[in-house]
């Protein structure tokens, strides 16, 4: 009786622990900001519950046995060593659990891979060690810039105090409008990099000589930060990705200003010739 209450108690405390973890983002994925990120978040929570249930069932049995079936308590060993029925059941049950897990995952995979009919397309190119962006289609078409780490080296060398966005800040952010389907086309100039923004639920390798694509639709305005997620050499840890999501009106102003600035640059270039 006593060990039963021990098992129950430990189960309840584990549940409490996990629910408290689900609250603070420190113990979980960042708050999802797109449909896909939300699905990933929810599936992860669901899987954690399934795993926890199996964990408690299996180790409940095992620790009960460890407590009770001891030589030091004078427990005499039984001598059974197989049971086809039991073995059949515990092969079938995991199969059913896996099917339940695979069904929502399959739907999300199909949705993630559907990069068709985007509202705008941006090409991201990985360089050692920064990102280049070209707005290829949609509002802002023609915008093109590089995006580099803007954290001062003094902070990295511990000569200055580190800011809140230490290593997650860039000189030029990727700006996109809220609620629009943005297709990101990826490639790389030298080695493989990976473009990852956790809050938007996307990560895709950028492979030199090949084109890959992915997409997101941001739910609300804000600044979302990520990092290169494929080892790309010395400064792999120093090429962050910052996406700024704006309301449609603000975005139009930003895009116009960018295009205007590059037009001025081009005309000056022509006059100088």
């Amino acid at each position: 009786m006593r060990s039963k209450s021990v098992v129950t108690l430990s189960g309840i405390s584990a549940l409490a622990l996990y629910s408290s973890m689900a609250v603070g983002s420190k113990y979980n994925f960042p708050e999802p900001q797109s449909v896909i990120a939300r699905e990933i978040y929810d599936q992860h929570i669901m899987l954690m519950w399934v795993c926890l249930a199996i964990f408690i069932a299996v180790f409940g049995v095992m620790f009960y046995s460890i407590l009770k079936h001891r030589k030091s308590l004078g427990y005499k060993a039984a001598n059974f060593h197989h049971s086809t029925a039991v073995e059949f059941i515990w092969t079938i049950i995991p199969c059913i659990i896996l099917i339940v897990m695979a069904y929502p995952a399959t739907k999300t995979v199909i949705a993630m891979k559907d990069t068709s009919s985007p509202d705008m397309t941006i090409k991201a190119t990985g360089y050692q060690w920064m990102w280049g962006y070209d707005y290829l289609q949609g509002e802002g078409e023609g915008i093109s810039f590089y995006s580099k780490l803007s954290t001062p080296p003094a902070q990295v060398e511990n000569k200055a105090p580190k800011g809140e966005n230490y290593l997650l800040e860039v000189d030029n952010r990727v700006v996109v409008p809220v609620g629009k389907k943005v297709r990101i086309i990826l490639t790389a100039n030298d080695v493989i990099h990976a473009w990852w923004v956790p809050a938007l639920g996307i990560k895709q390798d950028a492979v030199p000589g090949f084109i890959r694509d992915t997409w997101f639709t941001a739910d609300k305005p804000g600044v979302y930060r990520g990092q290169c997620a494929e080892l790309c050499g010395k400064d792999h840890g120093f090429m962050p990705i910052v996406v700024e999501v704006m309301e449609a009106g603000e975005y139009s102003k930003w895009a116009a200003a960018q295009l205007n600035a590059s037009a001025v640059k081009t005309s000056m270039h022509v006059e100088n010739k």
């Binding site: 899987l47 299996v58 073995e87 956790p198 997620a229 080892l231 010395k234 840890g237």
Partner: protein, 528 residues
Amino acid sequence: MAAVHGDAHGHGHDDHHPSGIMRWVRTTNHKDIGTMYLWFSFTMFLVGGFLAMGIRAELYQPGIQILEPELFNQFTTLHGLIMVFGAIMPAFVGFANWQVPLMIGAPDMAFARMNNWSFWLLPVAGTLLVSSFFVPGGAAAGGWTFYPPLSVQGGLGVDLMIFSVHILGASSIMGSINIITTILNMRAPGMTLMKMPMFVWTWLITAYLLVLVMPVLAGVVTMLLTDRHFGTSFFNAAGGGDPVMFQHIFWFFGHPEVYIMILPAFGIVSEIIPTFSRKPLFGYSSMVYATASIAILSCVVWAHHMFTAGMPTVGQLFFMYATMLIAVPTGVKVFNWTATMWRGSMSFETPMLFAIGFIFLFVIGGFSGVICAIVPIDIQVQDTYYVIAHFHYVLVSGALFSLFAGVYYWLPKWTGHMYSETLGKAHFWLSMFFFNLTFFVQHFLGLAGMPRRIPDYNIQFADFNMISSIGAFGFGLTQLLFLYIVINCIRGGEKAPQMPWDGATTLEWTHLPSPAPYHSFETPPVVK
């Protein structure tokens, strides 16, 4: 059991071999070679552990303190290569050398001379790897998976690594052929395949996996070598190649490789749990089938390491389903171990503690494995600390804990002395505590968005990194205690009886004295 090891020689156990250093250089004795494998792997474990301490020291705080980014990448790369190829794999081969002949009642390995050669390749390969730190440009810095084009950029260190991998591969293939031949041809009369101890079964299957995939690894590193020096373009898009093809070939080796490192661990645990439960292994035949299914499935799941590399939808779905399926035979194993313990008469000596610790932590690693198998979630956690946590749960608390369990279990048979039970238990509890301190928090780091292989990080990751580093230093120091326990046990201690564990049933306990004589089973025992 004098009749078995043949007292016809009449002059002790240490007959017929040269003494001094030449005994070890020229030996063809499976016990000597097994011992050398184990000492070699422990040495490499300390070297790889030193590199891990360097990594964790740099990550103790945000900012760059002791390792510049390039050197940091060399540390992570060599830590992985040394631990996988230098520490874990040779340790299991060492166990196979010692235990396979003893457990099947054979006098030695089938190809004794080749056995010597496959061991002596290892120090050469290990020296090449470690010395690459001191060549111009330093050691390889492209990660233990050395993806091109990054690994094409590296210097001489990468070439040394490639040659080292070639040599290690040759050694593994020879060792595997030896193990397969020994198991298939040299079993004692009456020991049918389905009567073999589980450890022997798991090694038979592992050896087949090794023979299957090591040549693939040798091929892919050779292609990398020719891309680097002889103008080929296997992995260079500008010349018609594809960098992602490297990943497919590498992981076709790499995924079976992780099962190569865990199947013998299953074998060791499947010996220990019944012994200390004083009850036969539950579901022996389903254990054999589960091991074989894991091995077969492990060959068709490789691209789950590449879900972010860009693959067609059907490709992602296939590899997700196949990967999830592996959970079924793995689950069967865990259920069988639990059922073996159920209504046993258990005692908790150090080997049993490590075996239970293995099951407990390996299951956590298995759960995070299933979570990583789900493509949408893997997209988030791929190449983050979540993955680091996952594979250390299966490789450290999986493979390494089972190795510790096996060492404590068989030390009495190998040395003729009992190890210190008190210190052994201390080693277990300290390892358990510090291991979890190091790696459990890394799950949270990965979920919160910390990529792996970075020397510096945002301040939001600072607390968990500090906890993890403290745990790592503790775990590293604890392993010196293990060294002390083993040396003490070799040098003396309480005399071990022939059968120090009540529930043991395999031939080395039932037929051989402790320590096992230098030549054993010259006349094969008869198994009923």
